[in-house]
């Protein structure tokens, strides 16, 4: 019963890896950032699909850490790009 999750992990990882082509092409910084965001969620999914069925409890803790910091790079980007200062409120 670990075949389907394992295959799904492989499939998702392959998919988000293809999504990284967007990082190659851009054209904007924001587009590049989106592909990494997708890779981050894909990594979380793959990690869980691989770790949970095999009973590896630490996989969930690693996924928790990744999920908690998933928005971090994007927030730093928005702050640094000055997209936040003149936000209409």
């Amino acid at each position: 019963m670990t075949f389907v999750p394992g295959a799904a992990a492989l499939f998702i990882l392959g998919m988000v890896a293809i999504g990284l082509l967007r990082a190659l092409r851009g054209p904007r910084d924001a587009d590049r950032l989106l592909s990494v965001q997708l890779l981050g969620t894909g990594a979380i999914a793959a990690l869980l699909l691989y770790g949970v069925p095999s009973g590896d409890a630490s996989a969930i803790d690693v996924a928790l850490t990744l999920a908690l910091l998933a928005a971090f790079a994007s927030i730093a980007f928005v702050k640094a790009a000055g997209g936040y200062d003149d936000e209409p409120s």
């Binding site: 394992g6 992990a9 910084d29 592909s35 990494v36 690693v62 850490t65 971090f72 936040y84 936000e87």
Partner: protein
């Protein structure tokens, strides 16, 4: 399937590493490097190092990416060095050849590692009952190689002192970093208000389980530091002034407590950092708790930077 996953992760790592080095655009290269950091976390899980994977997830997946992106966005367009020409084709071929030679030498030395593999795992396991911790990595960090951990705690404080030493003279004594503009009811403040409490709980949890399961002070401190940085970036709090006494006390408290326990061991058990019988676990917990604030502060403040504002009167 494990082989396919291993091969996929490894080849993707190589592709992303190469992209991070070769990409034309600086920002694209950094994005490649962040993706590379995320993949490293998966690689550590595949190599069965969950403690290392947690560290990489917290540092490589969060702090490093934020640091590099913030730096690149500040340098962008104004940085003449980015437009400086690469060395000529001859020099590049020479560099590539040299790098290939080094890589081959490394690969060759890996291929000729002794069989059976040298390992300290049985010795670690044999000695773990005396330390009363269930996580072998924690046992190594605070038991057999505690000296490394002590020196590391001192080195990271030195790195922070190095960052602070870049302060302009007139800003010495002022608050660290730049003032963060933000709206108290904006999006970012909302994110920080929701995420920070959850993150602090998760950080403490990862710290606490470290004695018996993968986790520990480094991973926990990184998460706490990330949460403080989030609150700081959102403008909900400001960085402390560099000359605050509590700040300096907390920075040296961890290493000092560590050294004190080491000296205590020298007196009681005959060697620096030796734990007297029966006291191992309490002393390890004291060290972990003492190091936690130091590590959190250092990891957060090296990203905030040196004091850049004049002291308030």
């Amino acid at each position: 399937m494990i082989d396919a996953l291993n091969a996929g992760i490894a080849l993707l790592l190589l592709a992303l590493g190469a992209y991070a080095v070769m990409a034309k655009d600086v920002f694209a290269a950094l994005v490649g490097y962040i993706a590379y950091g995320l993949l490293l976390t998966l690689a550590w899980m595949q190599l069965r190092g969950p403690d290392v994977a947690l560290t990489e997830a917290a540092i490589g997946g969060g702090l490093t990416g934020a640091m590099l992106i913030a730096a690149a966005t500040r340098l962008r367009d104004r940085d003449a060095a980015a437009r400086a020409p690469m060395p000529g084709i001859g020099a590049r071929v020479l560099a590539a050849t040299l790098s290939a030679v080094v890589a081959s030498a490394v690969a060759w030395s890996v291929a000729s590692l002794p069989e059976p593999a040298a390992t300290l795992a049985p010795q670690t396991l044999a000695a773990m009952p005396a330390l009363e911790v269930g996580n072998p990595v924690t046992a190594v960090l605070l038991g057999f190689r505690a000296l490394d951990t002590l020196l590391e705690a001192i080195v990271v404080v030195l790195a922070l002192i190095g960052v602070w030493s870049l302060a302009p003279d007139k800003a010495w004594g002022g608050r660290l970093g730049r003032l963060q503009h933000a709206q108290p009811d904006g999006m970012l403040a909302y994110a920080a208000r929701i995420l920070a409490p959850i993150g602090i709980v998760i950080g403490m949890y990862i710290f606490w389980i470290g004695a018996d399961l993968p986790g520990g002070k480094f991973q926990g401190a990184t998460l706490l530091a990330a949460m403080w940085l989030l609150v700081w970036m959102a403008g909900l709090t400001d960085a402390p002034a560099v000359d605050r006494r509590w700040l300096r006390a907390m920075l040296v408290a961890g290493p000092l407590a560590f050294v004190a326990i080491g000296v205590f061991g020298a007196v009681q058990a005959g060697a620096f950092l030796a734990y007297p019988a029966g006291l191992a676990k309490p002393l390890i917990i004291v060290i972990e708790i003492a190091l936690m604030p130091t590590l959190t502060l250092v990891l957060a403040l090296v990203l905030v930077g040196p004091p850049l504002r004049e002291p308030e009167r």
